[in-house]
């Protein structure tokens, strides 16, 4: 065993390792699309494979902003964001779609990716709901009646655009009470309003479970909920103290029903009645189970790529890349002969290593990522050309072959190192400070540069050194 054997062994070992790492990716993408979809839905997607970005496979990307102004003053922003992400993840998980990367972006943004989903209305509704469930007593004082009568006379909503109550109504409102809108019962019907106490004795934070139940009398869907132990106790004593009063069930600032409290309610469970369809009831149960968002979120960016468009762009881009790549490979062999063949080996290995590394890191390939790959491949080809041109220069000086190879590598090395490191420096900054697509570019570029340096310098040199052991008389480049 000498140094050369170690080198060749290392190259071979890496090749085998890469193929082993690549295997799950290849296996996954050769499956028919439907089967992949089914496996994703039950979360059976292999973890260490190369992911395709939404621009390549179709799907929806959304960026949400947490409305910081509506956040409880006591909560810390970072904590609220973590909680919001957790809750949104819960909601989407229960909705039953596959892998959905959700992550924090910046100070108060949340990025949500829904691969393969391009009809997002329902998902948007699911994510965007605050799902703040509150129980408030109805204020039945004469002032409240007066205020409601005035609201009924108005031809417009008593709420101004920002959600503030119009000053005229605000003057009429009894102390410690708030005006709430009722859920609309049917299209075109006049919206009803309620005056409710501002104190909230029980909230959805105590909820343990929520599910859809069909009303035994009318067959309409209702939502049955159960409190946890603590919530059950509070609810029991609260209802016991307020028998005969009306209790409004308020969800996201909308009153769904306001039944009268007939007696103390024990057991910690109840039912929200309202004009739900099966679908809205199901989604509502999901968001109630998952919990309330700490503050409302707003969609500030949304990108939907239909499934066909993604596939189309992949096919065309891939075909073009393969043609271009083959042209380069052919040129190298024609121009540099055996030297070109060695360079092609290195570039081929480079592609395998690069994709294997990206699969291992579960990286996501996007269009800008492909740009990064192209740059790194171009630089790998450049490194090979640099070495081969140096060999030609040394050959022109009629040096013996065993001297040509090491001299050419030594002389080409500084240029290869410096150009790669320079580009790598740029890539690091882009990764650190760029966002989204710029980051994707930086990731593939960085991995590509490392693979490129290794294959075009280390691997090719090992091949030449191996070839030198046969005492060749001529160098074919």
């Amino acid at each position: 065993m000498n140094v050369l054997h170690w080198k060749l062994g290392l190259v071979l070992g890496l090749l085998i390792l890469s193929i082993w790492l690549l295997y799950p990716t290849v296996e996954w993408y050769t499956k028919p699309a439907e089967e992949r979809g089914k496996l994703e839905a039950i979360k059976m997607r292999p973890r260490r494979i190369l992911n395709l970005g939404l621009d390549l496979r179709g799907g929806t990307h959304m960026l949400l902003e947490l409305d910081v102004e509506k956040l409880d003053k006591k909560t810390n922003l970072a904590d609220a964001l973590v909680r919001a992400i957790e809750i949104i993840r819960n909601r989407i998980d229960q909705y039953g779609v596959g892998e959905t990367p959700i992550s924090r972006q910046g100070e108060r943004w949340i990025s949500v990716d829904l691969p393969g989903i391009s009809n997002t209305e329902e998902a948007e509704d699911l994510i965007g709901r605050t799902a703040l469930l509150e129980f408030r007593l109805v204020n039945t004082s004469p002032e409240a009646e007066k205020a409601l009568a005035r609201v009924a006379e108005l031809n417009e909503s008593p709420f101004a655009k920002g959600g503030a109550l119009s000053p005229e109504i605000a003057k009429l409102m009894p102390k410690g009470a708030l005006l709430f809108r009722a859920a609309s019962e049917e299209d075109g019907a006049r919206t009803k309003y309620y005056v409710l106490e501002s104190t909230v004795p029980v909230t959805g934070a105590y909820l343990e479970n929520a599910r859809v139940e069909t009303d035994s009398q009318f067959g309409t869907p209702n939502i049955a909920f159960t409190f946890n132990k603590e919530g059950g106790k509070i609810f029991e004593s609260f209802t016991g103290d307020n028998v005969g009063k009306y209790l409004a069930i308020v969800l996201d600032d909308v009153v769904h029903s306001a039944p009268v409290i007939k007696s103390r309610i024990g057991g910690g469970s109840g039912v929200i009645e309202g004009s739900f369809t099966i679908e809205t009831a199901r989604n509502l149960a999901i968001v109630l189970r998952a919990g309330a968002l700490p503050a409302p979120v707003k969609i500030i960016e949304k990108r939907v790529v239909g499934p066909d468009l993604g596939e189309d762009s992949i096919k065309k881009g891939l075909t073009a890349s393969v043609i271009g790549f083959l042209a380069v490979v052919l040129f190298m062999v024609v121009y540099y002969k055996a030297g070109g063949f060695v360079a092609n080996l290195a570039i081929g290995l480079n592609v395998i290593l690069l994709i294997a590394a990206m699969s291992y890191f579960s990286a996501t390939l996007t269009l800008p990522g492909i740009a990064g790959m192209i740059l790194s491949l171009a630089m790998a080809i450049d490194a090979n050309v640099l070495i081969l041109e140096r060999m030609r220069e040394e050959m022109a000086l009629s040096k013996p072959i065993p001297l040509i190879i090491p001299t050419a590598y030594d002389k080409a090395w500084s240029a290869i190192l410096d150009s790669n490191v320079t580009t790598w420096i740029a890539a690091i900054f882009l990764f650190q400070f760029g966002s989204g697509p710029v980051k994707g570019f930086a990731v593939t570029l960085t991995i590509g540069l490392l693979c490129g340096m290794f294959t075009s310098v280390f691997v090719t040199r090992a091949v030449y050194e191996f070839w030198l052991t046969s005492n060749p008389k001529e160098l074919s480049i």
Partner: protein, 296 residues
Amino acid sequence: MIILIGKTNINFIARRHIFFAISGLALALGAASVAVKGANLGLDFTGGTLLQVKFDKPITIAQVRQAVKSANIEAGIQTFTGRNAFALKVKGKQENVNETADKLLQGLKANTRGNTFSEEKRDYVGPVVGRDLSKKALFAIILSLFGIIIYVAFRFSNPVWGAAGVIALLHDVWVTFGAMSITNREVDLVVVAALLTIAGYSINDTIVIFDRMRENIKKFPKMLLGELVNVSVNETLSRTLITNATVLGVVLTLFIFGGDVINNFAFAMLVGSICGTYSTIAIATPLVYQWERRRK
């Protein structure tokens, strides 16, 4: 042995004023186009809505324009030849996510009876996001340029070289940006990735020649700078052209066969890689010469 470029002895330095004039013209053309027409910035930066639909039966752009007009929205319309698909773009501040897209859909539905369509793509970029994206991309680029200058200054023990390399790189990026404006192509985040690629490629190309200059300075310490630059550029000319020819070949196939989605990207890469080759020979090294000579 096939040799495309044999031993050359072109006096690049003597022709530097011609190069500077050509580059000046290209930069000015780009600047003029950006000043007059403005850069066609994509939604990524301006914010707004894009809706791309594909019709099942043939439809004319006039019909689509009519439909958009009936929705009371001013939208730019882009057609995809041979695909029966149209992209409707409404740029500017839009506060709510689906508002504009839904209005457009209604208009299309009402005015294209007897023809059905499917939604291929929908983008909404809120006003805050657009600003944030441009700010972050710019910040990252500026920092990486400084990183490059510092590294090159350190490795070649001369800050002028690093600066010259960065100027050549900026030259390539600006000319490409100008070409995008002249041809009315849109600059979106994918094109920004292309510009980054061009920057990386340009500096790579430049450094290879700098490396040869560094080597030759040690080899011929008494050689005048002008001659040194010429010798170095000529010695590496074969490598410069071969590498760039291969890259150009790949980019050209992407441009011709790559399809609509990456066409803008491929165009930027095409212009940029030609510029990158040119600027290394005609801008970066002559600038070093010009600069060093003035100091003496």
